[in-house]
Assembly symmetry: C2
Homo-oligomer: 429 residues x 2
């Protein structure tokens, strides 16, 4: 997803190598690459390639060799844990023609970590204090595997920096933030790269692309556009590359302003904002509170909301009434309504919203009820049938949706739709 | 993470190329690679390398070229969407020395898809019916971008199969399952690969490795072991490679039996099982039901449980009582207990469990209360302070834990710990 506008010429390329069998057999999703790329991008570096390989001598040496031919910075994660199946450190020694030596500082750090946790050090942990002589070792505050910073200078080639980090995500993140990125920024003069992301809900990628086609074609050369679709959400990412932050901000703001004029009804936020954060901010500003009555979303709306730090300031709580009798006893839904219309109905979802608003003593309430699937559908109410209600201080609104047959996606779509319905109520309040 | 035991010799190598700027700037996590690898592995193929590149002509041709030198099968996802920023199809034409031609079958499929959805076809969608002349095109039941299957025969090199698929995960998954893997299995005679995964909770990676060291060293040559740690869980993956499924199963079962004898208290399940599935199965077997009273976990336990299809058969519901007054009004916690001991205390968490058990009318109940962070800690109750209670038909048990300062991880650890505490109660019942 890229136009032909240049960025390569002006930014410093980085290659990422993630080592680990677990990434190649599909049991672990490579979240490290995305996180590393995001951080590097923000610091003005450009990730050109990510390579994932097994923890095998030949694969590692080849990947190190090739990455170093393409980029002046190669960042490696994984393969340096305490267990016997990790071969990366030995391979690094061979590649940099050096040997393992015992590092007293590293040993003391590992000792201290184990003392803090009250665990006993093992022989495998002691071996982690042996590090390649040729590297600058980087502290690991959260684990036993230190980082290793190498510089390779080969006659006739550009010098290349290689950094090996642990694969455990939170250890790698701490090391990238505290050590690797600050050191790289001292060495490389990076261009200014500014990313801006516009978040839309309720419109598909190709339809959106048609709608904003003229705007896209008129974007200035310094700006690239990418479409990033997710279930229920399409993100538009604008990337500006140049010399001056202020100039880029001006160009991007202008483009974004035009976009808001063009499709105001689809845009719900910007950047890393989430609907739950936006809703929380709007509630706080209005001195209002929220309660939930969840049936098919089963606690997912509540989970997203309580993942926001400080949500206790505006979130009262949730009743996940998975069984019908709890809809009656905990939310005050009429037994007659359940009998006549069924749990997945406009009447019941409205009663759930009102019940949550009153019994949980909140200004606003969301209620959801749907046939999430894979089973439980009928001719009248197929899998994907969804009702959402929002109780506000003055009113109750309700809407019907028909989603697909994937349980996980139905829960997610219902959740996003419900939060966006609440947002629209709050904005127009 | 790998021992030196051979697998490369006996399985057919596949390279995966994922195309997309969005994967290189950190806004989208590459879940496609993990899914593809898992499916390929199960079918007896070995993913040797995953390469992630931008949607740029040069990067794509280089990656195609290099992957084809290393493996006889190259699977590509991404870069063939309807928007103007995708350049992959043009680059494939150049690489295979062919040109785009209008494909009537593809056009009809796209037309039919739009008719079903009630959308209007755009010019960009019409262009998706233009496909390289040299490829066999593969149907896409769920979207507009067809798959493209190429075979490259270069004098002096091994023939290579290249398949280009959409990057949208559910479209790619459908195409892999229905078209790509069945076609590959017809062409290649693959060895038998059997993976078995043992799930442990409550023990760190290095401590576990020491405990099972003798067992690990005594594993037969056909079996490889890898440690896959996650917050709160360490998975042990055993991979057997050979000719006969039955023989491999026998060897693996024997090894796993020995492991159960060695560390029975750490193992909670196998394979892709989750604690919520296991707990659900145990409750169903016993004709029992579960209710939750969640404070700091904020609906996350409920979300995991309701993600399990059929959970309505044993899950009653949850009260997420985020504010203290709701702990009193919805769960019957004594105001006096909150005043004397605070919400994060043994007394309150036990009263929450009993309240959920009675008011939600369930055989078992879980209650959680903790200081999730990042704020809200005190000298007496620092961030990470956690209380969990389990109410059973006969008893209430409660335990205290001290986790770290990361909100997300604390919520997850508390959730896993609570589910495992319930599991142990159910097993000993």
């Amino acid at each position: 997803m890229e136009t032909t506008r240049p960025t390569r010429e002006t930014s410093v390329d980085v290659e990422i190598i993630n080592i680990g069998d677990e990434l190649l057999i599909g049991q672990v999703i490579n979240t490290n690459a995305a996180w590393m790329a995001g951080q590097l991008n923000g610091a003005g570096f450009r990730v050109a390639t990510v390579t994932v390989i097994a923890d095998e001598r030949q694969a590692i040496s080849e990947a190190l060799e090739q990455a170093g031919k393409r980029a002046p910075i190669v960042l490696i994660s994984g393969g340096i844990g305490p267990t016997r199946d990790d071969i990366t450190k030995q391979t690094l020694c061979e590649f940099f023609d050096t040997k393992l030596v015992f590092n007293t500082e590293a040993y003391r750090d590992i000792e201290a970590l184990f003392a803090r946790r009250g665990f006993t050090m093992t022989e495998l942990n002691r071996m982690q204090a042996e590090l390649p002589e040729a590297c600058t070792s980087l502290p690991n505050k959260l684990g036993t595997a230190r980082g290793m910073w190498f510089e390779k200078n080969t006659a006739g080639s550009q010098p290349v920096i290689y950094v090996s980090m642990p694969g455990v995500p939170f250890e790698m993140k701490e090391m990238m933030t505290l050590e690797v990125i600050p050191r790289l920024k001292k060495i490389f003069a990076t261009p200014v790269i500014v990313h801006r992301t516009i978040l839309t809900q309720g419109v598909g990628e190709s339809f959106l692309a048609e709608q904003i086609n003229a705007w896209e074609l008129a974007l200035p050369d310094a700006v690239k556009l990418a479409y990033l679709p997710q279930p229920g959400i399409v993100r538009l990412r604008l990337t500006g590359t140049g010399r001056e932050r202020e100039e880029l901000d001006r160009i991007l703001n202008e483009a974004i302003e035009k976009l808001y004029d063009m499709i105001p009804h689809y845009i719900f936020g910007q950047e890393q904002e989430t609907l739950e954060q936006i809703v929380g901010k709007l509630l706080l500003e209005r001195g209002q509170t929220l309660a939930l009555a969840e049936s098919c979303t089963g606690g997912y709306i509540s989970h997203l909301i309580t993942s926001v730090p400080g949500s206790s300031g505006w979130f009262r709580g949730s009743v996940v009434a998975y069984s019908n009798d709890l809809k009656v006893s905990l939310l005050g839904v009429e037994e007659e309504s359940l009998r006549r219309f069924g749990a997945v109905s406009e009447t019941v979802v409205r009663e759930m919203a009102i019940g949550a608003q009153h019994r949980l003593n909140a200004g606003y309430a969301i209620a959801t009820s749907c046939v999430a699937g894979p089973d439980g559908g009928s001719a009248e109410k197929p899998v994907g049938t969804t009702w959402i209600a929002i109780a506000t201080p003055d009113d109750v609104i309700s809407s019907h949706f028909l989603y697909g047959d994937n349980r996980e996606r139905n829960i997610r779509r219902t959740t996003l739709q419900a939060l966006n319905m609440l947002r629209k109520q709050l904005v127009s309040w």
